[in-house]
């Protein structure tokens, strides 16, 4: 942790900051904020929601509790595809739109990491 004196819009401010694992953590005027610098951003938003509807990815490290679908199944928007558990809470990962299950990349009981691909979906008529 370092105390930095920065000039922002002509104003002299004090910021506490630390670089960790590709991010800058800062504390400024009562707010703590984790910032991914521009040069690291192309790796994709770590921990953020995946916007590609054809990929169900793990939003956190954890354990796969149940897989509700099989390859070739149709899934409806909002239907739970996989249930996973982290920090003793269960989370349901749902389909973002009506699609078909192309392949299943995880198994029940398995530990998965952040952003691991769990289930691959494809367009219904593909």
């Amino acid at each position: 942790m370092k105390k930095l004196n920065l000039t922002i819009d002509g104003e002299e401010v004090e910021v506490l900051a630390q670089k960790m694992a590709g991010k800058v953590w800062l504390h400024y005027k009562g707010q703590t904020f984790a910032y991914t610098p521009k040069q690291n951003q192309k790796q994709g938003p770590a921990g953020g929601a995946n916007q590609d509807p054809s990929q169900i990815v793990a939003p956190m490290p954890g354990k796969i509790i149940k897989i509700f679908v099989a390859e070739g199944d149709s899934v409806a928007e909002g239907e739970t595809v996989v249930a996973m558990e982290a920090m003793k809470m269960e989370y349901n990962l749902k389909a973002m739109q009506n699609m078909k299950v192309k392949s299943i990349k995880c198994s029940e009981g398995a530990q998965v990491g952040l952003s691991d691909l769990l289930v691959e979906l494809e367009e219904e008529d593909a």
């Binding site: 930095l4 630390q18 960790m20 703590t32 610098p37 921990g47 939003p59 490290p61 809470m89």
Partner: protein, 491 residues
């Protein structure tokens, strides 16, 4: 009941630290029963002795009766404090300790068995004429029966694991079509967290307040109540903000609930600290459950009454406790607790794990920080995401809110995301400020989690400036060694 020279702690994190502090003040040796993952924690460093009882997964350590009992026997401790969660309400654990002549800081296995089984508890409470929420608590656990009973009660219906608690193994069924999914999920969570898939159903009160009464029983059969706590700010039945006393219940309701709580404790010959939870709606109260253990939110009671519940628990076990006089227990001022969860408040509370790079607790009058990690420690995905608790006391509720906001502003926590921005939004919400909030508060006002930051762009700009000013990081990203690593590298 006899003297305790050495106390084993069958728990982890901030509550283990809380119990160690009590041991230190009482001159009792503390022995931490910990998992492999918890070597880099504050409780490990603070305890007098440490016994590793197993692997990181809870089933291999904190939830294993056999491993905990073996750990206590190996350590030679006289007694065990179970904290909360894990085996704290497990009658078989209390029984196993008793069978091995180890004292358990808590009620008898019989009292735990009766109250810990929510179905059994409901039967006792009905016999004592204390109102309960309509529901189904039958032995027929078939899906067809549960679905039929849920329809009979009328939606929304809540399905709960009979052995559950702490928000796990509970699901709300809004409509008939969701019944199967929710019942299955509650059964699974119950089985994985508590080892039983027995569930029961209850009418879901849609605008109730969650108010609970702290009680304490001594060895001579005296039972006192230590007033109530309001815990209506909940997300997925997990409490986030708690207060003592409630700012919004009538004197009649308070009197009715505290009397009912004492009556119930006496009915099961309750010894030690316990909590009777109620739902309050339309000026009526309903029994919810009794927790036969210390609660996470016990500090707010400690601050308004000037008591030490953990020391009282241990002294009571040693038969050196003279129970408080009920008439002398008078709450003063107002106390608020905020639970700090390791999560991303802007991504619907997804857990956040990782290494803590730096943390700073801004202490001051009427501020208390119960925390389990220090800089260099790693928050792992194996356990509950509660990292710490921030508790404040001030003379009035508005001042306590203001103090909490200032305290949260000045906490610095680098390396793991926390719900602090969310907590600040909750504390400033008009419904929280005027006290009218109920258990639907989060669902109604924060369904997507915390609202986005208003000054996101400003913070990003500052982030970029900081990145430029900080220069190169000397350590390998993500592989910063713990300053305590030398302590355990040869374990």
């Amino acid at each position: 009941m006899s003297d305790i020279k050495s106390l084993a702690i069958a728990n982890r994190g901030e509550v283990a630290v809380r119990i160690i502090r009590a041991c230190q003040e009482l001159g009792v040796e503390s022995v931490l029963l910990h998992s492999k993952a918890d070597i880099n924690t504050r409780a490990y460093r603070m305890s007098d002795r440490q016994i590793c009882i197993g692997d990181s997964a809870v089933g291999e350590s904190y939830l294993s009766i056999e491993k905990n009992v073996d750990g206590v026997l190996a350590s030679g401790a006289d007694a065990v404090h179970p904290g909360f969660g894990f085996l704290s309400e497990n009658a078989n654990f209390a029984q196993a300790l008793k069978d091995n002549n180890i004292q358990f800081v808590g009620p008898s296995p019989e009292a735990i068995r009766k109250m810990g089984d929510k179905i059994e508890a409901k039967k006792i409470i009905e016999a004592a004429n204390i109102p309960t929420v309509p529901g189904y608590n039958g032995d027929d656990q078939s899906l067809a029966t549960l679905k039929k009973e849920a329809e009979k009660i009328g939606f929304p219906v809540i399905v709960k694991a009979a052995a559950g608690g702490g928000g796990r193994g509970m699901k709300v069924i809004q409509k008939a079509s969701e019944a199967e999914e929710m019942i299955d999920a509650a059964k699974r969570e119950g089985l994985s967290a508590f080892g039983s898939e027995q569930v029961f159903l209850e009418k879901y009160l849609d605008k109730a307040k969650h108010i609970e009464v702290q009680i304490f029983g001594d060895l001579s059969g005296n039972v006192v109540h230590l007033f109530e706590r309001e815990c209506s700010v909940q997300r997925r039945h997990q409490k986030i903000v708690e207060e003592a006393v409630s700012g919004s219940i009538s004197t009649d309701i308070r009197q009715g609930m505290t009397e009912a709580a004492v009556k119930l404790a006496k009915a099961v010959n309750y010894v030690g600290a316990g909590t009777v939870e109620f739902l309050v709606q339309d000026d009526a109260f309903y029994f919810l459950e009794m927790n036969t253990r210390l609660q996470v939110e016990h500090p707010v009671t400690e601050l308004v009454l000037g008591v030490d519940l953990v020391k009282a628990q241990i002294l009571n076990q040693m038969n050196r406790f003279s129970c408080w006089n009920q008439d002398l227990l008078v709450p003063r001022g107002h106390s608020i607790e905020c639970r700090l969860y390791a999560e991303d408040p802007f991504s619907q509370g997804i857990p956040s794990t990782g290494l803590i790079g730096f943390q700073q607790w801004p202490d001051g009058p009427g501020r208390r920080f119960d925390f389990g990690y220090e800089a260099g420690d790693e928050v792992t995905p194996f356990y509950d995401s509660m990292m710490a608790k921030v508790i404040v006391w001030d003379e009035t509720r508005p001042r306590a809110i203001k103090k909490m906001l200032k305290t949260l502003d000045d906490i610095v926590l680098f390396g793991v995301k926390s719900n602090i921005p969310f907590l600040k939004q909750i504390l400033q919400h008009p419904e929280f400020v005027d006290g009218s909030f109920n258990t639907q508060f989060i669902n109604q006002h924060f369904a997507q989690g915390a609202h986005p930051l208003e000054n996101q762009e400003e913070l990003e700009k500052i982030g970029e400036l900081c990145f430029d000013s900080l220069g190169e990081v000397t350590q390998v990203a993500g592989a910063q060694p713990s300053p305590f690593s030398r302590k355990w590298s040869n374990v």
